[in-house]
């Protein structure tokens, strides 16, 4: 028998049992914290590091990229290909291809750090799944168009 004695033990035990019941009944009527994932989606924090994505520049209506190739050189996995061409009468190169092979990307972030023009950033997209390898060979220019340029063009065309 412990130092509480026979009846002390009983009193202490009964009290702690009732406190336990109170804890669980209070928890029972609190709101549910589970997010029913495929039907509901979580808000992602701004510093979530997904795959890279071209940043939209609202002044030029396109990307910030100057096709310097620093990101492709910084990439330890060689998963970025940047190509551009110099059009007639323009000072700078225009971006013609920015592709990311996400199957090889290790999400190290060296490309984002290497970029001088803040042309690439991390994506917030976490719903990435596919049936084949090729679905993860992203064309970032097309993704940029789909995200920003096309919706605005559609809205403008609608007017």
């Amino acid at each position: 028998m412990s130092k509480r004695g026979y009846f002390g033990e009983l009193w202490f035990g009964a009290k702690s049992l009732l406190i336990g019941l109170k804890v669980t009944i209070v928890e029972m009527f609190k709101p549910i914290v589970t997010v029913q994932y495929p039907r509901e989606e979580c808000d992602i924090t701004p510093n979530y590091r997904g795959h890279i994505e071209l940043v939209f520049n609202s002044e030029t209506g396109g990307s910030n990229c100057i096709v310097c190739g620093l990101c492709a050189r910084a990439c330890p996995s060689d998963c970025i290909i940047v190509e551009g061409e110099k059009k007639e009468g323009e000072k700078r190169k225009t971006l013609t291809r920015f592709s990311l092979d996400f199957t090889k990307c290790s999400l190290c972030g060296s490309c984002v750090e290497a970029c001088n023009k803040s042309a690439i950033d991390y994506s917030q997209d976490y719903n990435i799944a596919g049936f084949s390898r090729e679905e993860f060979h992203y064309d970032l220019i097309e993704r940029l168009n789909r995200r920003h340029i096309q919706p605005f063009a559609a809205a403008a065309g609608g007017n």
Binding site: G20, L21, V23, T24, E27, M28, K30, Q36
Partner: protein, 322 residues
């Protein structure tokens, strides 16, 4: 066909259907209550809020193969689930659901129920022994030791009610609670009965016979398919029986605010009280951790039995004096 025979057949079908329905309701309730206590939504996929999940589970269990382990006693192994299930159905025959909703009215219905619920121990013993598995055998040892010791305070606490009513008939006991429920005069007996009932039905925190972390699943480790589901049904039927005895003896049975057709609609109050008690059982399961075996035994022998005896003695003296 004689009307009495027809009545018995209808009653038998209704009782078995109710046992299955009860297992479904309790299975759903248990999973939902546990989920909400842990702040999860629980069953959500099959039907609105997952109400049809238990039907799917039942179909799955029926579809499973019944595996008989090598080296087991084949006959006893197949017999044990039935031995567990059949006696659990029988108490429903005498439970007074309402004033006129009782299949058989016996003068000794309380003794009948207690005798039938005790048979479950034998089924567990047979199941554990026939399985030829160490987990099953250890679960059986624990279960039998537990059931045999907790029978004593359970019966002693019920005896103090019997002393007050001097009848074993459940309808007679309900009739004796005309002005007040017996929980008001016998709170200690109620608590002792309820705690022993938890232990008798192998419910948490007294679920050491099926302690998952040590014994996988205790006595029904080797059972699959319907063999397992008979034990499952028997456990829930036993819980219902224990709670309905508590309702009849301590909470006034089917008595409540009068409803139209009071002789039959008392079942509403009866089921409300029984499922209220069953909710407390589930609530306790998801609150308390499992007790150790020595704690289980010392609690029974040091606290429950002396208090039950003292309660019985005081009741006897008071009944004699009044």
């Amino acid at each position: 066909m004689p009307p009495e025979l027809l009545r018995m057949i209808i009653a038998a079908v209704l009782v078995v259907a109710f046992v299955f329905l009860n297992a479904m309701i309790l299975g759903y309730m248990e999973r939902k209550v546990s989920a909400h206590i842990q702040r999860r939504p629980g069953l959500m996929e099959v039907g609105p809020h997952g109400v049809l999940q238990l039907i799917i589970d039942g179909l799955k269990l029926i579809g499973k193969q019944l595996v008989v382990p090598e080296g087991s006693n084949r006959f006893l192994f197949r017999l044990a689930p039935l031995l567990s299930f059949a006696p659990c159905v029988l108490p429903f025959v005498v439970i007074p659901f309402s004033k006129k909703l009782q299949i058989v009215s016996m003068d000794i219905s309380l003794i009948f129920i207690l005798a039938m619920t005790s048979i479950n121990v034998i089924a567990i013993l047979v199941a554990g022994w026939a399985s030829n598995n160490k987990y099953s055998l250890f679960g059986t040892f624990r279960s039998v030791a537990q059931a045999v010791s907790y029978e004593i305070p359970m019966l002693l606490s019920l005896l103090s009610i019997i002393l007050m009513t001097s009848t074993f008939s459940l309808q007679g006991i309900i009739a004796a609670q005309k002005y007040y429920w017996f929980i008001l005069v016998q709170p200690l007996a109620f608590i002792i009965y309820f705690v022993s009932g938890l232990a008798e039905t192998n419910r948490a925190p007294f679920d050491i016979p099926e302690a998952e972390s040590e014994l996988t699943a205790g006595f029904h480790t080797e059972y699959s398919g319907m063999g397992f589901s008979f034990f499952f049904l028997a456990e829930y039927a036993n819980m219902f029986t224990v709670c309905s005895i508590a309702t009849v003896l301590f909470l006034g049975g089917w008595k409540g605010i009068p409803l139209p057709l009071g002789d039959f609609t008392g079942i509403v109050w009866f089921l409300l009280k029984v499922y209220g008690l069953l909710f407390v059982m589930i609530w306790a399961r998801w609150t308390y951790p499992r007790v150790r075996f020595d704690q289980l035994m010392s609690f029974c022998w040091k606290y429950l039995i002396p208090f039950a005896l003292a309660n019985l003695l005081i009741t006897a003296v008071v009944v004699k004096l009044i």
